[in-house]
């Protein structure tokens, strides 16, 4: 059945597939992870990496022969960032795709020692660190672009990053094959100073839904800002961060590599005879797998370090609360460009390859000059840092479905605008509707709502019978479990308050029935606003001809009733 055209069967049974996907999600631990990686060991900040072979899992059931970077020996738990909960078990396997994310600090020297444990037939390998200063190398053999490690041998790179930001690292030896096989990874360079940023993010001291068993959220940032402060001012502060690496695979190349690795005569005699080498054609190129962080949808939304993916530890499953500034670290690996479309809002590009983009003349407070993009095109070898947030500003209706005439106190919250018009004054920090856009506060959406929601708005919602619900549909037009439960109008009580419209004949008659099929985004537990983040060269949101798949993930804006836990 390999590479056969299963598309119709898959897409037309999508309603079945999506719940299955969602069930997988529900069966695993909730996964909303930051930008995980490792720090160097010892005073010298040493990373000991190995290049090895293994198989990558794909959601079509295929295991793809690949090469990747990994840790020569498992680092101590203390080397992993962000600091993880006791229940998490981060690992750095001997081979993973992408390679371990290396977390270093600006102007602090570090070194990477690479051991070549690839099959002998693969020949030498190496690492390029574009945008990072290479002070010296040790051991290794001279290659075309850099010092290389011969089979079984090592090479050491002594490096220092002179500016903060996200960058790529990847093989500098026969890159058309070795990068395709998976030899790439990310380096995150933390700024030396973040003065002017919040010591703790907006995520930490906020509304806690203790009734649902929630606790305060932790700080999962690697730093408080993406770039350095200038005179105590920093325009690159953030509350959360996510790292996305884009790559693609042509399975024919990987099959050929495997065949030749097994066929090559790499005994000492074979080397002499010149038969111990690979001659894998890398053109014409027909990729069938399109991956974010080495995984295809829906696998990318499973947790970091999920045991099902021993060689693909990093996920792509962003969550955020309204108003949080979210740093996106985006890297193009592989060989193609991908137009990565962020639904929900624009992204302000801060910098490229560690270079902050600044206005020619400006006060420090207003010096950002990077573009605002709704599609951030990834380019091979290029890394971008950008800020995204979502607030619902300008929707012209109250996304929280506040209703001043409701008996439910949570429906009658206040909204006091700060200088930018958000409910974000210090006193509102612990409010459920922190960062609500106040100009639309209490403003109704529906002409005649079905439930405990204000009326006289502009819209009549259709009968739910003519619609099909998505697996990530929160169950109503509104944000959060409280608003959704009130809006669907068929529950008699919520938070011990009786719905004035009761559970009587009104329930379901004028339109909505209780939401169904929304299992990836529970109406009573999460009810977030889900947005698809995906490649807009749409054939890349497939996995080997199967839709959905590939470069696709769901981003969720969660009400503060829902606890976002990035600890896995």
């Amino acid at each position: 059945m390999r590479a056969t055209n299963m598309k119709k069967a898959i897409s037309k049974t999508r309603l079945l597939l999506a719940p299955m996907v969602a069930m997988v999600l529900l069966l695993t631990v909730a996964a909303h992870a930051a930008a995980p990686g490792i720090t160097g060991t010892g005073a010298a900040g040493t990373f000991n990496l190995t290049a090895q072979q293994a198989y990558l899992n794909q959601p079509d059931g295929q295991a793809i022969y690949s090469w990747g970077y990994g840790c020569t020996t498992a680092p101590a738990v203390s080397a992993f960032r962000p600091t993880l909960s006791a229940t998490s078990a981060p690992f750095c396997n001997t081979m993973q795709v992408p390679g371990p994310t290396l977390i270093v600090t600006e102007n602090v020297a570090f070194s990477v020692t690479l051991t070549n444990n690839l099959p002998t037939a693969a020949g030498n390998t190496s690492i390029l660190f574009p945008g990072i200063k290479l002070n010296s190398t040790a051991s290794g053999t001279q290659g075309l672009l850099t010092q290389e490690a011969a089979p079984g041998a090592t090479v050491t790179y002594n490096l220092v990053a002179t500016s903060p930001g996200t960058r790529a690292y990847y093989s500098g030896t026969q890159g058309d094959l070795q990068v395709e096989m998976g030899l790439y990874g990310a380096i995150i360079v933390l700024p030396a100073t973040t003065a002017g940023c919040n010591a703790v993010p907006n995520t930490v001291t906020h509304y806690v839904n203790t009734a649902a068993g929630n606790t305060a959220e932790a700080d999962f940032r690697l730093a408080a800002a993406a770039y350095d402060s200038v005179s105590g001012i920093n325009n690159t502060c953030y509350d959360r961060e996510y790292l996305f690496q884009f790559s693609e695979m042509d399975p024919n190349i990987h099959e050929q590599a495997l065949v030749q690795v097994n066929r090559a005569n790499c005994t000492a005699a074979g080397v002499t005879a010149g038969t111990c080498r690979l001659e894998v054609p890398t053109e014409p190129y027909h990729p069938a797998y399109f991956m974010i962080n080495g995984r295809s949808m829906p696998d990318d939304m499973d947790p970091n370090y999920a045991r099902e993916y021993p060689h693909q530890p990093y996920n792509g499953n962003p969550h955020m609360h309204p108003g949080e500034q979210v740093l996106l670290r985006i890297i193009g690996q592989g060989r193609w460009q991908h137009p990565f479309h962020e639904h929900g809002n624009h992204v302000r590009i801060l910098g490229r390859d560690g270079n902050l983009i600044l206005a020619s003349t400006a006060a420090a407070e207003t010096n950002l000059a990077g573009p605002l993009l709704f599609t951030t095109t990834t380019t091979p070898g290029l890394a971008m840092d950008g800020i995204f947030y979502w607030t619902g500003k300008g929707l012209n209706w109250d996304a929280y479905a506040h209703n001043p005439s409701s008996p439910d106190p949570l429906a009658k919250l206040t909204c006091t605008p700060d200088a930018n018009g958000y409910n974000a004054l210090p006193a509102a920090r612990t409010a459920l509707n922190y960062y609500e856009w106040c100009q639309d506060h209490n403003k109704p959406l529906q002409v005649n709502p079905f439930g405990d929601v204000a009326s006289n708005g502009p819209m009549t919602l259709p009968d739910a019978n003519i619609l099909t619900n998505g697996a990530w549909y929160g169950g109503s037009p509104y944000l959060g479990p409280n608003a959704t439960t009130r809006a669907t109008g068929c529950l008699g009580t919520f938070n011990s308050v009786t719905n004035p419209q009761g559970n009587g004949p009104n329930c379901g008659i004028t339109g909505s029935t209780p939401p169904s099929g929304t299992i990836a985004n529970s109406p009573s537990g999460e009810a977030g606003f889900a947005f698809m983040w995906h490649s807009h060269n749409e054939r890349e949101i497939t996995t080997n001809n199967i839709f959905p798949g590939g470069m696709l993930m769901m981003m969720l804006v969660d009400s503060r009733e829902f606890q976002i836990d990035e600890s896995n």
């Binding site: 607030t391 300008g394 200088a419 502009p458 259709p462 099909t468 004028t510 060269n537 497939t542 804006v557």
Partner: protein
Amino acid sequence: MRKSYQVWLPVFLVCLSTLAANAQSFRVQCPTNTITHPSALHDNNSEPTYTGPTTLSAPSATTFQTPTAHVNGAIKCQQISGGDGYSTMGDGTQTYMFSFGPLSGVTDIANGLPGTQFPNNFNVLLAPGTVLQPGDPATTLGSLFDANGNPYNAAVGLAMDIPNLVSIYDISVAGTTVTVVGNAPLGVRVGEMVTISGTGTPFDGTFAVTAATAVNPFFAANLAFTVTNAAAAGQAEITESTTATAGLAARIDGHVDARPIMDVGVMNGNIPAPLMAIDEDDEFFLTLTNVGMIMRPDLFEQHTVHFHGYPNASSFYDGVPDASVAINIGGSFTYYYLAPDAGTYFWHCHITPPEHLQMGMVGQIYVRPRQDRVLAGASLYTALQGQENDLRTACRRAGDGGTTSVTAPTDILCSNPVPAINTGISAVATVVSAPGTTTAGYAYDDGDGSTAYEVEYPIQIHGFDPNFHFVGMTFNPEGFSDMKDKYFLLNGRGYPDTVTAGPLQTVAADGVNHMSQPLPSIINIPAGGRALLRISDLDVTEYQTLASLGIPMKVIGYNAKLLRDQAGNNLAYYTNSITLGGGESLDVILDSCAVRAATGACTTPMATGVYFLYTPNLDHLSNDAENFGGLMTEVHVN
């Protein structure tokens, strides 16, 4: 395995028969009066002049803010069909599509204009005695009129709703607020006139509804409504009257007749999908009516509309079926947005995107700036400073001249701060009706006139893989990774069709001519004038480059945002080519002026003649096997 879902067909049909009787199926929504645009302040049938932000009532804990004077923007409505159709490629090949077609603004669409309408053009019946036929408006262009004698642009299918009458169970008054509880829902909306009779008391009369639902001790809230009646003050409650009734007259309320919708909508798909254009501050009501795909009866295919690039979008109206709702065949769904910041956006169906986009469900939408509505002669800089006084549109920095001082950090995602340099340029008289006609306007709220243009052209880049389309028409499963476009399209056409005036027609499988490609891409610039090209790309497979021969391209906007940094410096740049991937847009100005004065006036025009826009991806200059065609069009400086 492919046809496994067909076993569900009988099950589905059984389910269908048990649907609630009140399933709404087709309908349109286009209110004439909303809480954001009260008709008492402006009739919403035109755009008011922009002299400053809308005046809003003071915030309060128990109410929401409403306009109290001087409201900006208006109400815009549009209806589209989701279904299938055929188009004609540059080599004459008839190509099957999944596609959207116009179900309002059909005359405007046929003329290459946006199909977006004000309420008074949308909520009007077809001229008496006229009947819409399959293939309209292709076969009757220019001879279709509405009941007011204007060119027909109304919602297709619109019909008078029947008079409705319910018996009153209980009627009571508190102060001057009369609460009427019926024995059944009357289906009133706020502001509608309801006639109460048979009470034999001052309760009788005709009144405007003040609340469409009312909590009451008897029945569910949607069986009750309220009106204001001073004469009824102090009247005793009447319960279980045998004669009291509440009635609505026959009226236009979004009710539609399915027959004209099916006659016009089936196999009427367009490429690109119907053009939409709104103005900042507008409320936009877009109704998607799913008429089904006649050529693929095996697919119970839903459709949606994704407003690509809308900042701070709502998930509910974002059109992603996984994250929201999708519209089944036989149903209508109305999308609702307050217009976002000005810019060139686009839209498409988000069901199985690699398939529905490749098959043709792609269209254009752009938002015109407030600056277009500034009085001619007024300072653009001052007008933009005015916008800084509304938090919704503000993009502040210290020293920007706003009436209040800046106390908060600059919003990192706001896009149009006042320019660093006040050029002192005044607004020109703007006409905001038509792309391709000699008008004048601005692409963005620039405050310095740097995005001014004389003519405006929306151009969408797309590609068709004929193999995929053939396979899609013939009930076969389609492969994705080997998708290879062979037709390269500007507004759904390959050269030389790109320069053919007027709409293209294609005979569909029903043997009738349907309007298939309404938008030419021929660019006519009056000598010395500037053309704004609103370029978007929805190609599904690869990046596309478009180059200009002879006239430099000035890129002024990117991804629906003005190219300007946070300090107010313009970042517009000149180039001879632009490259876009699927899901990207930008704004280019082609200036046919050789020497332009600081005031913006052209002192030396370029030579008149024919210039070209073409792709340097030379293999894209083809219509399948036919050279020389594809991604190319002409620029005529007249």
